[in-house]
């Protein structure tokens, strides 16, 4: 399924991808280039902006979204290549806590083991009067998932007044990392590499919709067959072992 | 021909002002004379097109510049009037040289060769040409503003107190230039001034304004020798204009001028014999005598006949005399008038010090 490495000049692909995938995708793109010699232009932005741009005829060959809703919308508008959509990665939500300067080494050895949040858990008490940092709970995927999770645990009502919402999940992480907020709900992929936070809790399975990153080829009637082929090939590559390894390294879960 | 102004305008606000000016200015120099706040600048602004009067009409040489009723309103830049503003209004970002050249860039035709240098030299601003206006003295700015207007080759000059900030010596250099413009180039001038000596020297027509109205207008010689007009123009400045012809130059530095009533000796002037002049004789510099006085240092003694007498409120009196075919004014005390029995018809000798006819009071006659 891989494109032949001997292709004289493989077409350049433009990929619109959710910004949270940057590190992993940069690595995968490197590998793809090594493998096929094909150039990739990766445009990272919020899923909403990218989806809208695709609606407006952006020159994207592939779209990797951070949530299903925007992909659904493109799908409904007939902007995706039939049958090309697939989930390429998954993620998990975690509750992070600020790790105090007392542990400059930043390794997680001394941290208490993360607890699994139980229904009715008193999150507010753990905030100690501070705020719970989350991404926008009705707009940004991480926030939407987080709200779902807290709702299903039956503690959203009680927690909501203490939530500080940010425009993206990284900003929520920053609030915890700087100690501004004692707790935050972020992706596991963001939490793990940040030395200033520790994972304080995980959510029970099924507490929120599965977090998936769908990818699809954009339907462009003007596209050359080579481009379409290359796009489909890259989609396959994304689901391939090399890409999976890279995603795992960044902490992403893999779709079944 | 000439400028014809007939406008009405009102400024609102506290202590508002309303202007109602109507006068005709034949070619030559028209002096706008009047106290501060009487509306002189307002009239000039209307002529220049910088102010659209509420009502009325302005025409120059038959061309309508402005007509509030319906007709054309010629844009200021199409009027081609060189305006010397009361405040210099030089362009602060341009050198003096560029300021002077500004008008010439837009004037049709080509400048007379050497004109620039001539004007610069007359105004004494040669060493300053590369300076910016910010680094000039008050009088230097004023001179530059005069130069800028002159060099724009205007078809009429509007000068709002152009010489107020200048010393006598400089005035004496600029006035002959303006005279030449008036006579040789035939450029009409609307000239605002408080200084009667300037006005008398230049003006062919005098328009006296009072509180927004034209109090008196007419040919200079007539208005200036008019007993009735004298108070309006300022008694201290009263004085008649005599036409004369240069007769001869004498070796001892005097020039002899023939006037209708005899001969006058004036300080040497450069005009060639035969040149026609206008000589202003200030009323207060004339001494009257019923007998011919002898042995005075005053060289000019003319025979005259009293035409009119106007006794003022103070101790003074103004006497109008016919000298030859012209009229002369003399300002004397009431006591002298009584002592000398001055009355219409009385024969009198008029003593005029030769030097009292100041250089700036001698103008070349027009036409």
């Amino acid at each position: 399924a891989d494109a032949a490495p001997s292709d004289p000049e493989p077409p350049k692909l433009t990929i619109f991808a959710a910004a949270s995938l940057k590190t992993a995708l940069d690595e995968i793109a490197e590998a793809w280039r090594d493998r096929t010699g094909g150039a990739l232009a990766l445009s990272y932005a919020g899923s909403s902006a990218l989806a809208r741009q695709i609606e407006q005829g952006a020159p994207a060959d592939l779209f990797v979204s951070a949530n299903a809703a925007w992909m659904d919308r493109l799908d409904a508008a007939g902007l995706l290549r039939e049958g090309s959509r697939r989930d390429v990665a998954g993620n998990a939500l975690v509750l992070v806590a600020h790790r105090d300067g007392a542990d400059p080494a930043g390794d997680s050895a001394g941290d208490p083991a993360p607890e699994t949040l139980a229904p009715g858990a008193d999150l507010v008490a753990r905030l100690d009067g501070g705020r719970l940092a989350m991404a926008l709970v009705d707009a940004v995927p991480a926030g939407i998932y987080g709200r779902q999770a807290l709702t299903s645990l039956g503690i959203w009502e009680a927690t909501a007044p203490h939530v500080a919402q940010t425009d993206n999940v990284r900003a929520a992480l920053a609030l915890v990392a700087t100690g501004e907020a004692p707790r935050g709900v972020v992706y596991a992929t963001d939490a793990t590499p940040e030395p200033r936070v520790r994972i304080a809790g995980v959510f029970p399975a099924g507490a929120h919709d599965p977090i998936v990153y769908p990818a699809a080829a954009v339907a462009d009637p003007a596209a050359t067959p080579e481009t379409v082929d290359a796009a489909l090939a890259f989609l396959d590559f994304l689901s391939g072992p090399e890409a999976r390894a890279a995603l795992t390294r960044q902490g992403f879960a893999l779709p079944d | 021909m000439g400028l014809s102004v007939d406008i009405r305008h009102d400024f609102g606000g506290p202590g508002g002002f309303s202007l109602d000016a109507r006068f005709d200015a034949p070619p030559g120099v028209t002096a706008l004379f009047g106290r501060s706040g009487s509306g002189k600048t307002t009239v000039v602004n209307a002529v220049a097109g910088l102010l659209a009067p509420r009502e009325g009409r302005i025409a120059l040489d038959g061309e309508v510049l402005f007509d509030a009723a319906c007709g054309p309103r010629l844009a200021p830049h199409r009027r081609r009037l060189g305006y010397v503003f009361q405040e210099a209004r030089l362009f602060p970002h341009l050198s003096l040289r560029a300021n002077l050249a500004f008008g010439a860039w837009f004037a049709p035709g080509r400048a007379a060769p050497g004109e620039f240098d001539r004007v610069v030299e007359m105004l004494g601003i040669g060493p300053l040409l590369d300076r910016r206006p910010g680094a000039l003295s008050g009088g230097e700015k004023q001179r530059a503003a005069i130069g800028r207007a002159l060099l724009s080759r205007p078809r009429m000059l509007l000068m709002d107190e152009p010489l107020a900030a200048l010393d006598e010596a400089r005035k004496a250099e600029i006035l002959p230039y303006l005279e030449r413009l008036r006579d040789a180039a035939g450029v009409p001038i609307l000239y605002v001034s408080h200084a009667m000596a300037e006005v008398a020297r230049l003006a062919t027509t005098v328009v006296a304004m009072e509180a927004g109205r034209v109090a008196r207008a007419g040919p200079a010689a007539e208005v200036l020798s008019d007993l009735e007009a004298a108070p309006a123009l300022g008694l201290r400045d009263a004085g008649a204009l005599l036409p004369g012809v240069v007769a001869a130059h004498h070796a001892d530095g005097l020039t002899e001028v023939e006037v209708s009533g005899g001969r006058l000796l004036l300080p040497r002037m450069r005009a060639a014999p035969g040149t026609r002049l206008r000589i202003r004789i200030a009323a207060q510099e004339v001494i009257l005598s019923r007998t011919r006085p002898e042995g005075l240092s005053a060289l000019n003694i003319l025979a005259g006949e009293v035409v009119g007498l106007r006794v003022g409120e103070g101790g003074g009196a103004l006497v109008q005399l016919r000298v030859g075919e012209d009229l002369l004014l003399a300002r004397i005390t009431r006591r002298s008038a009584a002592a000398l029995e001055i009355a219409p018809g009385a024969a009198c000798w008029c003593v005029v010090k030769s030097v009292a006819v100041a250089r700036t009071d001698v103008g070349r006659a027009t036409g």
Binding site: K22, T23 | P92, H93
Partner: protein, 235 residues
């Protein structure tokens, strides 16, 4: 990223070059219309004046994302203006650096207009009247008197606009995305780095570069402005 390594990183160099190109072009192209609009607003009373004034200020008031969204709707390939531009002039803005320049220009426009307008309102109309009496038609009065006198304001507007364009991000990324080499400016690169774990240090380097460039522009503009001011002098 190693010390000094940024200069060698082609992606960074690309982003910097692109940012400079976008900022310069947007400033240059926006300046003349900004002068025109400033003149209109400062000098002419016309019926749509308040509206124009409002529209000019819009990009300041709206969140950049909203501005970007509106731009996308209008100037996107399928937008009414974008489609027309492409058909008539073959000019494509969407997802091109030209689009980034447009976004930057739109965001910088109110700043430029304000600065220039303030300068215009400070010009003594008596000087312009004097120029007119000297025979200068309107365009000449503008070019020879008004424009030189408002030059400090125009410069201030240009530098504000340039700085704003260097920092513009929200509208740009929403309108033309962040395509490497085409629309990925420094701020977009910074954003992307901040989105990925561990990108902060690299982001800081980019921030430093961006700040350095803008400071340089600032210094140049100050030097120019003080020169102009000295020329105009105390009047």
């Amino acid at each position: 990223m190693q010390d000094g390594g940024v200069w060698l990183d082609p992606a960074t160099r690309e982003a910097l070059a692109l940012s400079l190109k976008v900022a310069l072009w947007s400033t240059l192209c926006a300046l003349p219309p900004a002068v025109g609009v400033a003149l209109l607003l400062a000098r002419v009373r016309f019926p749509g004046r308040a509206l124009l004034n409002g529209v000019v200020h819009l990009p300041l008031v709206l969140p950049p994302v909203a501005t970007g969204y509106l731009l996308l709707m209008l100037f996107g390939r399928r937008g009414p203006v974008g489609g027309w531009l492409e058909e008539t002039f073959g000019l494509v803005l969407a997802f091109r650096w030209t689009g980034a320049a447009l976004a930057a220009a739109v965001m910088a426009f109110p700043l430029m207009v304000r600065a220039i307008r303030l300068a215009i309102e400070a010009v003594d109309p008596k000087l312009e009247a004097a120029a007119a009496t000297l025979g200068a038609p309107r365009w000449a009065v503008f070019g020879l008197v008004t424009l030189p006198l408002i030059l400090p304001g125009v410069l201030a507007g240009a530098v504000l606009g340039f700085a704003r364009a260097m920092g513009e991000f929200g509208a740009t990324i929403t309108f033309v995305s962040s395509i490497p080499g085409e629309t990925r400016t420094l701020p977009a690169a910074i954003y992307a780095l901040l989105q990925s774990p561990g990108g902060e240090d690299a982001a800081l380097v980019l921030v430093a570069i961006s700040v350095a460039v803008s400071m340089a522009a600032l210094l140049v503009s100050e030097a120019l402005a003080s020169r102009v001011a000295r020329r105009i002098g105390a009047g």
